[in-house]
């Protein structure tokens, strides 16, 4: 197995173009598990850890551009106030050790339906920056996942960053696992209020072949939410939202939980997170 060690994005893209089977390695928290368990034997690893540009974040066109390799721990400590949804999701990933190594770029590369960043990226209209020697393309998160552990990347492409709009309203992330930390999601849910658009974004994890948005639930809220009013939400509205979120999922039975439990839990998380975000929204100046 070769170990390719580029020092810049340009060099990495050239290597990826010439050795398309090379497996990129960022934090390695997925890759090393696969290698150790002999689930794959790539001809080469493409090390992204020497590329400074992939380990920084900046603001580009009003969005936060997070380099593909920025670890979760930095998102939690440094971006929590701008991107609360993604930071909350990052806080639930693995253990401190895993959060020090693991990255959103790696989560997107693995594209597991159980990846915790995905619901937050979906709810906040994030866009994935994908590059190759052929150029750069921007793919919205909602179009990025194409199947179980499959994404839109071509063999010569790398994820260089993810662009996340700063929060304009409250955001929440909630994940069910049968342990109180360090657990793969049984199912997960993210919500982001976009008051300026009078719209709500959602993301569902671990309850379908790919992470997905609950479109009908989002449309329902866009029509029904009393934006600008200081009122609380009717229980019936919360419940309806929960039902629509559960309906959007197509979960399976597996060792981590049953399909019916996942639906149920999604409905509960959806109505709880909606009520948390809405009470926060009501407390802010936007409702004055």
């Amino acid at each position: 197995m070769d170990f390719l060690n580029p020092g810049s994005v340009t060099e990495a893209l050239e290597l990826k173009a010439s050795v398309p089977d090379a497996v990129p390695i960022a934090g390695g928290t997925d890759v090393m598990v696969e290698l150790n368990f002999d689930h794959r034997r790539p001809p080469a690893l493409l090390n992204l850890n020497r590329i400074a540009e992939l380990h920084t974040y900046s603001t580009v066109d009003g969005r936060v551009r997070i380099g593909a390799c920025v670890p979760y721990s930095r998102i939690v400590t440094e971006l929590g106030s701008v991107l609360p949804g993604l930071a909350m999701a990052s806080r639930t990933v693995g253990s401190p050790q895993i959060r020090n190594r693991g990255s959103v770029g790696g989560n997107l590369g693995a594209a597991s339906p159980a990846g915790d960043s995905h619901p937050a990226l979906l709810a906040t209209d994030a866009v994935v920056e994908i590059a190759s020697t052929r150029g750069v393309r921007m793919v919205p998160a909602k179009d990025f996942y194409v199947g179980v552990k499959r994404n839109v990347l071509e063999p010569d492409e790398l994820i260089t960053a993810v662009h996340v709009p700063p929060a304009t309203g409250p955001q929440q992330f909630s994940k069910v696992g049968t342990r109180n930390a360090m657990v793969i999601a049984v199912c997960a849910f993210a919500i982001a209020l976009h008051p300026e658009q009078q719209r709500v974004g959602t993301g569902i994890g671990s309850a379908a072949p790919t992470p997905l948005r609950a479109h009908e639930a989002e449309e329902f809220l866009a029509a029904e939410l009393p934006w600008g009013s200081p009122d609380g939400l009717l229980d019936s509205l919360n419940r309806r939202f929960g039902e629509l979120v559960a309906k959007a999922a197509s979960p399976i039975d597996d060792v981590r939980g049953t399909a019916s439990y996942r639906r149920h839990a999604l409905a509960v998380m959806a109505r709880r997170t909606l009520s948390w975000t809405w009470s926060e929204y009501r407390r802010t100046a936007q409702c004055a």
Binding site: T92, S174, G177, T178, N180, M182, V183, A185, V255
Partner: protein, 737 residues
């Protein structure tokens, strides 16, 4: 004045190394010219082997040998209790993961690839899966010739058909727990060259039983098979049965090279036995005032494909089946059977974990039926010194059961949970800010036999040497007792310091050059090996006094000079007896340990998630030789019991393990394990050295029902099965949404 003797808590000699990651475990064993062994395992729970073709594997460069059952030099059968387990499968395989062939190669990767290149043709059978069905269907397909019943035991006391005013019954199930030790099975076998023998370095719980079984399978006299203990990364019963022992030695003897074997995590889940799952039918009868009148119970233990410790599980499960309570009338019956499920054997709390979960669930049900406080009902019926157990054995040592329950009951209760999500169900995953959260309190009390039972003489041996080194007296203690993390090495040093008045106590490497120490299981080593070290020290002390010509030896170095005193002694616990096969009566046990837990839980009743808020324990340890180590055992045991209550289960479907990894076999993290108040009670047992009472197992056992009962108290649900999954707590009858 010596320090670090009995009753103090000196630091463990291996502690710093372990914390710094510098301790050498058996998986770190290494020799310059060693080969790597690997194991081919059956993919099927039940099948006939039609053919094995090793030619492709043998032809691979770097492969030194490939072995099948035909290459087992001695007897191809072993077992702790029954001789029923092949070293390598012959005609049939009886569980998924059963070893079929072995490879030795230059590199572990080559060995793994060679394993994949071995071609085995199987004729696949329907696996036998349901232990209860198996127990009552003599015509079921036979997992072993001779039938599927490993042991049936009945215990009858008083009037087994007694009637009572208040009757409660229930059917309880317990899932398959794993020991989940951190250091996978590993060892290094070194052939001794011309002698034809072999030296095996390994992690195990009992060197001598491994030595006897290995020698028999190798067709060698025991003297030709030497075993030396290497660093053990936890055991909990999972290292009582053989894993790499015979395999590594076979490969080493065949190739003439040292051979290392080391399972990875996934293989480890197939490479050791698990805790017996059980289904238990219980009926309790009591007077209207709350006095127990009778207990009737039927217990079914799934032993899986090989017997391992199933006979002991049946023995403990029945003799301890009513718990630490006075029960005048009883009929307890248990079956341990073969199936094609993964083999089950020893695990901390052997045979007592299952019934304790059931009878403690029953005690809460009974308290509810009587309108009594659950702790008060237990105290009212608690056994005490002088009580007679269901087997007719009179408890002739302190049994402060009522006091233990009262002590946990009197501990302060925690405040209601605040807004910190880390303290709420779901923890870091942010599932509730208080919505749906209900608090519950529950109790669990247990009785566990200490040391081996039913007539076994599981003695221990110690050799103690006293000499002067650099002007200082130094004692060397040599035993074959396994340090599996419980702190036995420290305990041996402490005993020698106190008995000899010598500060420097060195531990000789643990090996089979000394006599048997018995197993580091059944909470027995501080008692039994502690007793042997005490006896050897006292013999050395007597020699020293002889030399000094006086009782008092203030200057040991001066008296000893160049003399070396060395004495070897055994310790045998008092005799026990087999159970009457018909009535189950008999003095089967050496000693009992008791512990009581009170659990406080917060349950998210809408998501079914649980946070154990507080878990308090009172335990009688007789005498705390090392108080810190005692508390450590209670903390760790309680965590393991918590795991069984809410998360730890090997999920088996159609005889296959669905979650053989730590990704999906969940064990508690620090966020799952709450702070504990531990009350260590010391009521010395006059029959035991220093009055000690085994410590390691009881807290594992009583934690589980305490938590289950707390969740029941919070939810009002029956919850007849552990581990309690979120699905059990919420109502999914509407299909989920």
């Amino acid at each position: 004045m010596t320090t670090g003797g009995i009753g103090e808590s000196p630091l463990r000699p291996d502690g710093g190394l372990k914390v710094r990651g510098q301790y050498a475990y058996s998986s770190d064993l290494w020799l310059e010219n060693m080969l790597w062994g690997a194991t081919l395992r059956s993919p099927h729970p039940s099948a006939r082997i039609l053919s094995v073709d090793t030619s492709a594997a043998l032809a691979m460069p770097g492969v030194h040998t490939v072995l099948t059952y035909k290459d087992v030099p001695g007897e191809n059968v072993y077992g702790l209790k029954l001789q029923d387990t092949p070293v390598l499968a012959e005609e049939v395989v009886r569980y998924q993961g059963e070893p079929v062939a072995l490879v030795a190669a230059e590199h572990p990767e080559t060995a793994r690839r060679a394993v994949k290149a071995i071609k085995v043709e199987y004729e696949v059978f329907e696996p036998v899966l349901d232990p209860e069905l198996v127990a009552h269907s003599p015509d079921a397909p036979q997992v072993h010739p001779g039938g599927n019943l490993v042991r049936h035991q009945r215990i009858l006391k008083g009037d087994p058909d007694a009637t009572a005013d208040v009757v409660v019954s229930g059917v309880y199930e317990i899932g398959m727990q794993d020991q989940a030790f951190l250091g996978p099975e590993s060892g290094l076998a070194v052939p001794d060259g011309d002698g034809g023998g072999v030296h095996l370095y390994l992690a195990t719980q009992w060197l001598h039983v491994d030595q006897r079984q290995t020698a028999k399978a190798l067709g060698l006299p025991v003297e030709k098979v030497k075993l030396t203990m290497s660093g053990v990364g936890g055991a909990f019963g999972g290292r009582e049965d053989l894993s790499i022992q015979v395999h590594a030695c076979m490969l080493a003897l065949r190739t003439g090279r040292p051979v290392k074997m080391s399972y990875n995590r996934q293989e480890s889940f197939f490479g050791h036995v698990h805790r017996h799952p059980a289904k238990m039918y219980y009926e309790h009868g009591a007077t209207a005032e709350g006095d127990l009148v009778y207990v009737r119970a039927r217990l079914y233990f799934d032993g899986g494909a090989y017997a391992s410790k199933t006979p002991v599980v049946v023995g403990n499960g029945t003799t301890l089946g009513v718990g630490p309570y006075n029960v005048p009338n009883a009929r307890i019956e248990a079956w341990g059977v073969y199936t094609n499920n993964p083999p089950c054997g020893a695990m901390r709390g052997l045979g007592a974990v299952q019934p304790t979960y059931a009878y403690e669930s029953q005690m809460d049900k009974l308290a509810a039926a009587l309108g009594m406080d659950p702790a008060d009902l237990r105290i009212r019926n608690a056994m005490s010194e002088g009580s007679t157990t269901v087997t007719g054995q009179v408890v002739d040592f302190p049994a402060p059961v009522a006091e233990l329950i009262q002590r946990v009951k009197d501990m302060p209760l925690p405040e209601p949970s605040g807004s910190d999500i880390l303290q709420l169900p779901g923890g870091a995953a942010n599932t509730t800010h208080g919505e749906g959260v209900v608090r519950g309190v529950g109790y669990g009390v247990t009785i566990k036999n200490i040391s081996y039972a039913e007539g076994l003489d599981d003695y221990s041996t110690a050799r103690v040497r006293l000499e002067v080194v650099d002007g200082e007296p130094v004692a060397t203690v040599h035993t074959a007792a396994a340090e599996v993390g419980q702190g036995l090495i420290t305990v041996q040093q402490q005993i020698a310091r106190t008995e000899l008045g010598v500060q420097q106590v060195v531990l000789h490497p643990c090996d089979t050059d000394i006599g048997d120490a018995g197993s580091s299981s059944a909470s027995r080593q501080t008692y039994i090996t502690g007793g042997a070290v005490r006896n050897a020290c006292r013999a050395v002390r007597a020699k020293l006094q002889e030399l000094a010509g006086s009782e008092d030896v203030p200057d040991i170095a001066a008296v000893l000079g160049d003399e070396v005193i060395e004495e070897t002694r055994e310790y045998h616990h008092r005799k026990t007896y087999p159970l009457d096969p018909e009535t189950g009566q008999g003095n089967a046990h050496v000693q009992y340990g008791f512990s009581a837990h009170r659990a406080v839980v917060d349950v998210d009743t809408e998501l079914g998630l649980v946070k154990v808020v507080q878990l308090d324990c009172a335990q009688d340890v007789g005498k705390a030789i090392n108080p810190d180590a005692v508390v450590g055992q209670i903390h760790g045991g309680s965590a393991q019991g918590l795991g069984l209550a809410v998360m730890e289960e090997i999920q088996v479907a159609e005889g296959r393990i669905r979650n053989p990894s730590f990704t999906d076999y969940l064990i508690p993290t620090i966020l799952d394990m709450p702070p504990m108040t531990v009350d260590v009670v010391e009521r010395p047992d006059p029959h035991a050295p220093y009055g000690v009472r085994g410590v390691g197992e009881p807290p594992t056992i009583s934690a589980t029902p305490a938590i289950a009962n707390a969740i029941r108290a919070a939810t009002g649900l029956e919850l007849p099965r552990v581990p309690i999954r979120p699905e059990y707590i919420i109502d999914l009858t509407d299909g989920g949404s």
